[in-house]
């Protein structure tokens, strides 16, 4: 989980062009949107692409994304959960 969180932070910094930030600047449970990191709707779309590309996780409803993308920790939990689901139900 910790390495997944660190990977995610690095990926977010790169993908969202968070200039001058390091993984240490993003607390695991810091809200990504609004008051916290201040991300917006286009960032949410960027995160959807990131999850699809790097983790093969497809989110089709941006509203669903809002809950999952609360913080780096919630994203990591979602990835872990989806991986477990995929392992339990391997594609035919």
């Amino acid at each position: 989980m910790d390495s997944l969180i660190l990977d995610l932070k690095k990926e977010l910094i790169e993908r969202l062009n968070l200039e001058g930030m390091t993984p240490d600047d993003i607390a695991d449970d810091m809200p990504l949107f609004g008051e916290g990191l201040g991300l917006d709707s286009i960032d949410a779309l960027e995160i959807i692409v990131l999850l699809d590309k790097n983790y093969q996780i497809k989110i089709t409803d941006p509203k669903e994304g809002r809950k999952i993308f609360h913080s780096v920790k919630t994203i990591a939990e979602y990835i872990t959960e989806q991986r477990a689901l995929a392992a339990a139900n391997p594609p035919a």
Partner: protein, 355 residues
């Protein structure tokens, strides 16, 4: 008509260090390549860091030039924001296209798409100012900035209290460079920028930048010059036609060719495309001092905005920088004619008068 249009402020970011109002092309940069990129200021001076994050390089350049211009004019809220550009945000457009082709239409970057629209800069300026006023973008090669100027002049005539922010921007892009080189836009050989006009070959060099002017009917204390008219010419066949058009343009403003002190010429260094322009500026305006700028900035669609920037400064400072390779040194400069050609296809002119 008594209404006059004053250039109340200017701002430019270009391949020369033009954001500093203290110097006027006094120490020009020399280039030995065919693509000239802008020398950029510290963007944080002009753009809030949160907004900066998702802005592409050309949006940053454009935002900075707009801010410099507004500060210069003492303008807090323009009554209209008008931009002109040829290829717009070329870098984001090409990046999105390349991703699309390389990834077989999967996993694309939304930001590139949202930034690829031609009105991304005019929208970003409005957003940064919370400016709900008129907002438009013209995308007609070397008529782009000129279209914005004419549009703004009509709106000022409708409501003379209006102050309009008008700009032109374009960004270099190696893909466009390669692609349009196929149809002879750029030189086959590498040329030093200060040798552009003696190259004796076809094609020009690619450049970029963003320049803005604030235009209004009030002769503010900071006013640089008046902008007395703009004219675009499409389908020019020969020098006689171009010459007649310039004469008509001047006559409509009650002046003769002999009254033009300086021609800011859009000569591009292409032996073919410059032909009519050079013929007309020599035959019709033999006494005017010719001054050039495309070797300093490179060629791009909206370069007329830089032409307006230099014309305004020449008139206020009453001097032509040596870097513009002037053919003379007029004692007093009252009228400047900007005369441009772009890739031999579009011709345009603007007239400026000292205040």
């Amino acid at each position: 008509m008594s209404l006059r249009y004053y250039i109340q402020g200017i701002g430019a970011v270009s391949p020369q260090a033009t954001w500093d109002s203290g110097v006027f092309l006094d120490e020009p940069l020399h280039y030995e390549e065919n693509i000239l990129k802008s020398v950029t200021p510290d963007f944080k001076q002009y753009i809030n860091p949160v907004a900066l994050r998702r802005m592409s390089r050309i949006i940053r350049i454009g935002m900075s030039a707009a801010r410099i211009c507004m500060t210069d004019a003492g303008l807090a809220m323009p009554d209209g924001i008008l931009t002109g550009t040829g290829y717009g945000c070329a870098d984001d457009t090409i990046k999105f296209l390349q991703e699309m082709l390389a990834n077989n239409e999967q996993h694309l970057t939304p930001t590139h798409f949202t930034q690829s629209t031609y009105n991304a800069l005019s929208g970003a300026i409005a957003l940064s100012l919370r400016c709900t006023n008129y907002n438009t973008t013209y995308v007609h090669r070397a008529f782009s900035f000129e279209s914005g100027v004419l549009d703004a002049m009509m709106q000022i005539a409708d409501a003379p209290q209006k102050r309009m922010l008008i700009g032109g921007f374009d960004e270099t892009d190696p893909h466009h460079y390669n692609i349009t080189r196929r149809v002879g836009y750029y030189k086959e050989e590498t040329v030093r920028n200060f040798d552009l006009y003696t190259s004796g070959t076809r094609g020009t060099i690619q450049g970029e930048g963003a320049s803005f002017i604030t235009l209004g009917a009030e002769p503010t204390s900071n006013a640089y010059a008046t902008l007395d008219g703009v004219q675009t010419l499409f389908g020019v066949r020969d020098a006689a036609q171009l010459r007649a058009a310039v004469e008509r343009f001047l006559a409509a403003r009650g002046i003769s060719a002999a009254e033009i002190d300086v021609v800011v010429s859009g000569r591009s260094g292409c032996v073919v495309n410059d032909k009519l322009l050079l013929e007309v500026q020599d035959d019709l305006l033999p006494h005017a001092t010719k001054a050039y700028y495309k070797h300093l900035t490179g060629e791009y669609s909206a370069s007329a905005a830089f032409g307006a920037w230099v014309a305004a400064r020449i008139l206020r400072e009453q001097r032509i920088p040596a870097a513009m390779l002037p053919t003379g040194a007029p004692a007093a400069i009252r009228r400047v004619l900007y005369l441009n050609q772009y890739m031999g296809g579009e011709y345009a002119m603007m007239l400026f008068t000292a205040v």
